[in-house]
C-alpha cells in the first residue's frame, strides 16, 4: 500500500528564536525522515522566520511529518507546497578550474543555454578558471552540475538550497 517516494515541499513559519532550527532539523534526523534541503531566513515580520523544506517520502510519512511539525510550539504554520503553483529558485556557484581558452568558450555557451527560466552569469574569471553564478530551479541546477562534471575535470560547487513562494494566483484566492 505504500505510495510512491517523491520530493515534497513544505513552507514553514516559525518563531525567529535560537534553537528552533536545531529543533526542526532534529525532528528529521531523530525520526529518520529523508531531508533533501532546508533553508531559512527572516520574513517581513522580524520575529518570524520562514523555512523552505524539501523531503523525499511517501504519502503516509509526509502526513506524519506535517503533523509532527505542527505539534511544535515554535511552529506557527505549516504549508504544503507540493502540488501548489510556486516560484522556486536556488542559488548555485560553480567554479570550473584548470581549463584552457577553448573550454572557457564552452562554459560561456553552457551559461547561455541555461540562462533561460532563471539566470546564469559569469561573475568572475581568471587565467585558467571561471566562476558561474546561477539562479535556477533545483532540478535545473542538478542538470547543470551533471553537465559541468561530465565536461570538465575540476568543478567546485556551492549550493544554497531552494527557497519557494506561492504564485500570486494561489495566494490571492
Amino acid at each position: 500500500m505504500a505510495s510512491k517516494m517523491k520530493n515534497r515541499w513544505i513552507a514553514l513559519y516559525v518563531e525567529n528564536q535560537v534553537g528552533v532550527l536545531a529543533k526542526v532539523s532534529g525532528l528529521f534526523s531523530g525520526k529518520s525522515y529523508n531531508l533533501q534541503s532546508l533553508t531559512v531566513g527572516t520574513t517581513e515580520h522580524e520575529d518570524v522566520s520562514r523555512m523552505t523544506i524539501c523531503v523525499t517520502s511517501d504519502d503516509v510519512t509526509f502526513e506524519q511529518i506535517k503533523k509532527q511539525l505542527n505539534c511544535m510550539v515554535e511552529v506557527i504554520k505549516v504549508m504544503d507546497l507540493t502540488d501548489v503553483p510556486i516560484h522556486m529558485k536556488e542559488i548555485l556557484f560553480a567554479k570550473i578550474k584548470k581549463i584552457d581558452c577553448l573550454q572557457k568558450q564552452e562554459v560561456y555557451q553552457i551559461a547561455n543555454v541555461f540562462d533561460q527560466g532563471g539566470s546564469v552569469e559569469i561573475t568572475d574569471i581568471g587565467e585558467d578558471s571561471i566562476l558561474m553564478e546561477c539562479m535556477l530551479t533545483e532540478r535545473r541546477n542538478n542538470e547543470l552540475i551533471a553537465l559541468l562534471k561530465k565536461q570538465f575535470k575540476h568543478v567546485e560547487v556551492v549550493r544554497g538550497g531552494a527557497v519557494a513562494i506561492e504564485s500570486i494566483s494561489t495566494s490571492c484566492r
Partner: protein, 573 residues
C-alpha cells in the same frame, strides 16, 4: 516595585497553586532554594537522586492530576533528570522541570557544570527554553504551565541562568499568555463522530480498545457508561488499565504482548474496533499487518500525529477522550445485540484463562491476589519487568483505584520513587509498590526520603534473583544462556551464573537493608505467609514496609507474543 527573578519564581509557583516541589540543590539554583526557605506553605521535598526526583514528580502528578514541579541544578543535576523527563514524555505526564544554568556570560565557555540541557532534551519534551532576559521570566513560566497541562500533557523544561535569578525586573506574573504556535485541540468533529457511531452501531462484533488517554482525561466513568448503554465489550492497553473496573461484565482484560488470550483474540476477530486514547504502540499491535485484520478501525486521540501513524484507520477523530465520549453518549440510544459475540469471547477466556501454575512454591499470581485482598483500593505502582506484567494481569481495579506504571519508556527504577511521589500527593490513600529485585536497586536510595517524609507505603519486592524479564527471553529464545541476568554471587568455574542452584546466595539482604534505614523488613518464603505479611504492612503509619517475596527464578510471564509477531500468535504454555 521591581523584584528579583528568584522572587518572581516563587510568586509564579504560588499563583499556579503549587504546594509541593521536588528539588535537589546546587550552585546554580541556590538563590531559588534560598527564596523557597523564606516561603510559607510550600512543601519542598529532597529526593536523593535527580532521576528519582523526576519519577517522584511523575507519581505525584499521576496520583493528584496536578502538574509535577521539579527543580534541579545545572550540569549533572540536569543530566540526571533526563531519564525521568523522557519517561514523562512517553507517558504524557504533565511536568514543569526547572533547571539551573550558569550565568549567561559563561554560557558557551564549557563552564563548570554547564550543559545545554534544552538541546539535550529537545526530542523528549513538549517544550523547552533557556530564559535569556529577566523580563521574559514570568511569561515563560506561565507558558510552561499552560503547555505542560493542556492538550496532550507532557514535560516542559525551563532553564534559568543564575544571573536571571538575581536580576531585578517586573513583579508581574501573567494570568494567561497567547502562544501563536500552540493550539491544543479542544473540539471534536461531530460529522466524524457520527460516522464512527454509525459504523459501530452496524457492527456484529464491536470492540472498544481503551488506552492511557482515557485515564489521563479522567473519562473512565463515561467509557463505562457508553459501553454499558451499547453493550460493547472493552479491552485495555497497559496504560488504559483501570479505565473500566476489572470486574465489569463487559471488561475482558489487557491486550498486547502479555495481554490476555481472549483480549487479543477479540481484537483479531472484531469487525469494528473503536480505539480511544492509544497510540498503537508496537507492544499493543504486534505485527501491524495482522492487527485487527477483520476490523474497520475508529481512532480517537488528542494527538493528531498519533492517528494513522502506525495503524491506518478508517475513521480518524482528533479529540480529547472525555469530550468525545461526552458527545457519543448523546447518540447512544439502545443496546446492540452482542450476546453471541460476548459468548464467543467468554469461550476464548475459558479456553485459556489467565492462570499460573501453583506448584512451584510462592506463585506470583497468589501474591497479586493477596495484594488485591489487603489493598482493595488506593494506588498500585509498579516498576518494570515480569512483576510489572503480573501486576497488569492480576491486579484488580475497582472504580477509583489507580494503577501507575512506566509504559512508554519502560524505565526500570521508576516504581519506588513514583510510589513515594504518589503517597506525597495522596497521603490518605494506601500506596503499594510492586517492584523487582533488579529495578528496585536502581533507585533504592530514595528510602532515605521515604523515611524522612514519614511515608507509610508498602514495597513488595518480587525477588526472583534475576533480571527476570530478560532471563525469560534467554530461557525461551536464547538457549538458556543466562548471561548477566543473575543478580547473585554464585558462579561456576567459567564465571557464568549457576541457574538451578537450590538456595543461591543473593545480594543484598533487603530485610537488613530496610532495617538499616529504620523501615520494617519482612521476608516471605511460603504461600501462607503472604496474606499476614501484607496485613501487617498495611498497619504501618509513619515508615515504609518492605516485603520481599522469594519466588522461583523459573516463573515466566504468559501468554506472550514474540516481538514482531501477530498478536493472535500467542505462546500460551
Amino acid at each position: 516595585m521591581d523584584i528579583t527573578g528568584r522572587k518572581l519564581f516563587v510568586k509564579a509557583l504560588q499563583e499556579e497553586g503549587v504546594d509541593t516541589i521536588f528539588a535537589y540543590p546546587g550552585g546554580m539554583i541556590i538563590d531559588i532554594v534560598d527564596e523557597l526557605y523564606k516561603t510559607e506553605g510550600m512543601h519542598v521535598v529532597l529526593p536523593r537522586h535527580e532521576q528519582a526526583l523526576v519519577h517522584e514528580a511523575e507519581g505525584y502528578a499521576k496520583a493528584t492530576g496536578k502538574v509535577g514541579v521539579c527543580l534541579v541544578t545545572s550540569g549533572p543535576g540536569a543530566t540526571n533528570a533526563i531519564t525521568g523527563i523522557a519517561d514523562a514524555h512517553y507517558d504524557s505526564i504533565p511536568l514543569v522541570v526547572f533547571t539551573g544554568q550558569v550565568s549567561q556570560n559563561l554560557i558557551g565557555n564549557d563552564a563548570f557544570q554547564e550543559v545545554d540541557i534544552v538541546g539535550m532534551t529537545r526530542s523528549i519534551t513538549k517544550y523547552g527554553v533557556t530564559v535569556k532576559d529577566r523580563k521574559d521570566l514570568g511569561r515563560i513560566i506561565k507558558m510552561a504551565f499552560q503547555i505542560a497541562t493542556s492538550g496532550k500533557p507532557g514535560p516542559v523544561v525551563i532553564d534559568i541562568p543564575k544571573d536571571i535569578q538575581t536580576k531585578s525586573g517586573s513583579p508581574d506574573y501573567p494570568d494567561h499568555v497567547d502562544i501563536r504556535g500552540y493550539k491544543p485541540n479542544e473540539t471534536v468533529h461531530i460529522g466524524q463522530l457520527k460516522k464512527a457511531f454509525k459504523m459501530l452501531r452496524h457492527a456484529k462484533r464491536p470492540l472498544i480498545l481503551a488506552g492511557g488517554g482515557v485515564n489521563i482525561a479522567r473519562a473512565g466513568d463515561l467509557l463505562v457508561e457508553f459501553a454499558e448503554k451499547m453493550q460493547i465489550p472493552v479491552v485495555t492497553t497497559i496504560m488504559g488499565k483501570g479505565a473500566m473496573p476489572t470486574d465489569h461484565v463487559l471488561y475482558i482484560g489487557n491486550s498486547g504482548m502479555h495481554g490476555k488470550y481472549a483480549s487479543n483474540k477479540a481484537i483479531s476477530e472484531c469487525d469494528v474496533l473503536f480505539s480511544i486514547g492509544t497510540r498503537f504502540n508496537d507492544r499493543i499491535t504486534g505485527d501491524l499487518n495482522e492487527f485487527a485484520p477483520r476490523a474497520k478501525i475508529i481512532h480517537v486521540d488528542i494527538d493528531a500525529a498519533s492517528i494513522s501513524r502506525n495503524v491506518v484507520v478508517d475513521v480518524p477523530i482528533t479529540a480529547d477522550a472525555r469530550l468525545a465520549l461526552e458527545k457519543l453518549a448523546e447518540y447512544a440510544d439502545e443496546p446492540m445485540d452482542t450476546t453471541k459475540w460476548m459468548n464467543q469471547i467468554m469461550k476464548w477466556d475459558d479456553e485459556y484463562p489467565l492462570d499460573m501454575r501453583r506448584d512451584r512454591g510462592l506463585c506470583p499470581q497468589i501474591i497479586m491476589e493477596e495484594i488485591n485482598k489487603a489493598f482493595p483500593e488506593g494506588i498500585v505502582v509498579t516498576d518494570v519487568g515480569q512483576h510489572q506484567m503480573w501486576a497488569t494481569q492480576y491486579i484488580d481495579m475497582p472504580a477509583g483505584k489507580k494503577f501507575i506504571t512506566s509504559g512508554g519508556l519502560g524505565t526500570m527504577g521508576f516504581g519506588f520513587p513514583a510510589a513515594i511521589g504518589a503517597k506525597i500527593g495522596s497521603p490518605d490513600k494506601p500506596v503499594v509498590c510492586i517492584t523487582g529485585d533488579g529495578g528496585f536497586q536502581m533507585n533504592m536510595q530514595e528510602m532515605a526520603m521515604a523515611i524522612t517524609e514519614k511515608l507509610p507505603l508498602v514495597v513488595c519486592i518480587i525477588n526472583n534473583r534475576y533480571l527476570g524479564m530478560v532471563r525469560q527471553m534467554q530461557q525461551i529464545f536464547y538457549g538458556k544462556r543466562y548471561e548477566i541476568t543473575y543478580l547473585g554471587k554464585e558462579l561456576d568455574e567459567s564465571g557464568k551464573c549457576v541457574a538451578e542452584t537450590e538456595e543461591p546466595e543473593y545480594a543484598p539482604d533487603f530485610v537488613k537493608w530496610a532495617e538499616s534505614y529504620g523501615a520494617k523488613g519482612i521476608r516471605v518464603t511460603s504461600v501462607d505467609e503472604v496474606g499476614p505479611a501484607l496485613v501487617e504492612a498495611a498497619k504501618a503509619t509513619d515508615a515504609p514496609v518492605v516485603i520481599e517475596f522469594m519466588i522461583a527464578s523459573e516463573e515466566i510471564v504468559l501468554p506472550m507474543v514474540k516481538g514482531g509477531n501477530p498478536i493472535s500468535e500467542m505462546i500460551l504454555k
